[in-house]
Symmetry: C2
Subunit: 410 residues, 2 copies
């Protein structure tokens, strides 16, 4: 099976390296395509490999599979489409492309007798996609909760240890975990694309990427990690989706997770995926979700599957309505200019939406003009809480917009 | 695809139930085979299903796949062989059969154009086997560490909380977690069969089941869990295998695991598998390793794979030498009649094998005639430690044979 690599960056060169090291039976690297390919040439790559910056040359050749590792919707979308139309299979780690066009591309592959595999698109080196497609196809998955963005996990687990967001972000950028523009990661868009793919495979729900609401972890302050600890919790960026009536609920954002839950154990850039099945109960996968080598393992595994003629069960998904509603406990952090009557106003706003207060926490040692305190509430719909908080949004005693986060169960 | 169930016990009836509930496309339950089948008949099973106690009737029929859920080497071995020879595929959760005869049966399947799947044989509802075969085929796995026996995990995690072995075992038997004869579980034979299967798939090492040494968890005393805690550890039955030179090292038995390691987080009957890849690093899978429904999920997933024409990559294994050698820190618990010179004798025995003492622990509150104390030693080969302990085996001050357990790293 002749393989063309499109993109020879971190992941692409790791793929080439693993193929050269392990020499998987039946795999032959035949082309490497990259812009300005001359400066990419590496002497450890077999002499037989053709280096090119011309995609048409790849398409005209006898390669059986293209491996797309450039990322972004275009031009990779066009490359994958044209390869599939030419009857060549495609392997990609492009979560954006698969989240947005995966169903169409799957169909295109099948109608051309080709295959489309994208094990590297979600949680890199952790075999979540094959695990779901092969090993859990016999269950009815009702819920997914996951840490799908290593950058956010790195930032929040360092903040948990007392470091400030800005410092940690700088370190993450220096270490190559975060982009110069960290918005894709911290604002949740990267995790959202992965959640959409997982929802399709696990919940069989086809949803539009943009219909899933994201909250940014930049809203999380150091004080929230302190209060979270008082609640025997920590904070993680969680991607959550579950079956709800005919549709699904899905959201991405910072949430409180109990210290006894597996999510609290995730360290640094680790990814973790929990799926709950009606019959099999909870299954957790964890490991390195990103980085050149772990992601390359997923790509090479897909190539080996293709070389051995493995086929993936075609588990149909259906277009599904998505809401952001979850019945969960919530943490609400207020920062106020202290004065009498604040708690009464908050309690009134919550009561008007029939939301029960669970507990009130107020740590000492903050100044009266900018005093953080926390209210936890019993399980309620996210929309009801939003309405309750809207009622006090313009209160004169608020120094900041309140931050609310769901509290996950154990 | 017509499916015959062989065995209608806990797992078999769960398989039938899930197939009836989820109605996976292309699957039809056609036969149920069981001894004394009349008392097994269930009214929720479709009328079209043929109940039989005659295996020949199944074999003569047009079923495409047999699902063997009876367990044990014979007669299931003969049934699976005869089905494969007749060109029928087989799905089984029979770890004993696959550990001992899996390679031969795989070959038999292929030579008859049939398939043999056994996702349920290891860690029930956790998709470890598909994860390894599909998702991690592109890595070189160098090490497996796993909790593969739910009964032992239940017993040790309850002992960790202060309960006595005998009481917990009784509870486990009452709850159906442990057999009347618990030897298969507590002595490690059940976990060993699973470790042999995982070693074949992950390390590509074909080893004889009997060549892997087991230690029983019955040697673990309440005091060991107390001392383990002092070392920031707890105790679990761990199955461990790793590449070592041309061969592998493999063993099953009680080990100390750091409280910060995922193994310490495993609760009750949970299973957990950690594989370490040269490129992808550590990946952890956890969930319900046993029970009717989780195991049935693995069986139904295998059936769905077959119905969709999925094929498993044929990853060759090779006959491999197995030793029990690991270079690990060790915990050694002595119970002695206190007298001067004991520590000097122990230190001398260890020094004669060039084993360095790491620390000595002695809790107060035990009587002088039966005093437990603990020595931890720096990483050393298991065989060297065995020789050192042999030197003092007959010492007059020993009230019990010393118990040594490896201490896993984080």
């Amino acid at each position: 099976m002749k393989v063309a690599l499109l993109g020879f960056g971190t992941v692409g060169s790791s793929v080439a390296r693993i193929v050269c090291d392990l020499k998987p039976e039946g795999l032959e690297l035949s082309h490497i395509f990259n812009r300005s390919v001359a400066r990419k040439k590496a002497d450890w790559v077999p002499k037989s490999v053709i280096w090119t910056e011309d995609f048409e040359e790849v398409l005209r050749s006898d390669v059986d599979v293209i491996v797309e590792l450039v990322g972004g919707l275009e031009p990779p979308g066009t490359w994958v489409r044209r390869a599939l139309e030419a009857g060549k299979s495609a392997v990609t780690g492009n979560k954006k492309l698969i989240a947005k066009h995966g169903i169409e591309l799957d169909r295109l592959a099948r109608s051309n007798g080709a295959h489309l595999l994208y094990g590297a698109a979600v949680a890199g080196g952790i075999p979540v996609i094959p695990g779901l497609q092969q090993g859990l196809a016999g269950d009815r998955i009702t819920r997914i909760e996951a840490i799908l963005n290593g950058t956010c996990n790195y930032i929040l687990s360092r903040m948990e240890a007392g470091d400030a967001f800005a410092d940690v972000l700088k370190d993450a950028q220096r270490l190559g975990y975060a982009e110069a523009d960290p918005s894709e990661d911290v604002d949740g868009y990267d995790a959202r694309a992965k959640l959409v793919i997982l929802s399709r495979i696990a919940l069989r729900a086809a949803v539009e990427v943009e219909s899933v609401a994201c909250r940014s972890i930049t809203e999380v302050d150091a004080v929230d990690l302190v209060y979270a600890r008082d609640l025997n919790c920590t904070i993680r960026q969680i991607s959550k989706a579950e079956l709800r009536g005919d549709g699904i609920s899905a959201t991405v954002g910072p949430m409180l997770v109990p210290l006894r839950s597996p999510f609290a154990w995730s360290r640094r850039t680790e990814n973790m995926v929990l799926v709950c099945g009606q019959y099999g109960g909870d299954v957790v996968f964890s490991g390195h979700g990103a980085g050149g080598n772990p992601t390359a393992v997923a790509v090479v595994s897909d190539l080996i599957s293709l070389a051995h003629g493995s086929k993936v069960a075609d588990l149909p998904s259906r277009a599904t309505h998505v809401s952001g509603e979850f019945e969960l406990r919530h943490y609400i952090r207020f920062v106020v200019r202290d004065q009498p009557g604040i708690v009464a106003e908050i309690a009134g706003a919550l009561a008007s939406e029939k939301i029960n207060i669970d507990a009130l926490f107020q740590r000492t040692g903050y100044e009266k003009g900018s005093l953080p305190f926390v209210v936890t509430v019993e399980p309620c719909a996210a929309s009801a809480l939003r309405r309750a908080l809207d009622r006090i949004r313009h209160a004169g005693w608020l120094s900041e917009t309140p931050l609310d986060m769901p509290i996950l169960g154990e």
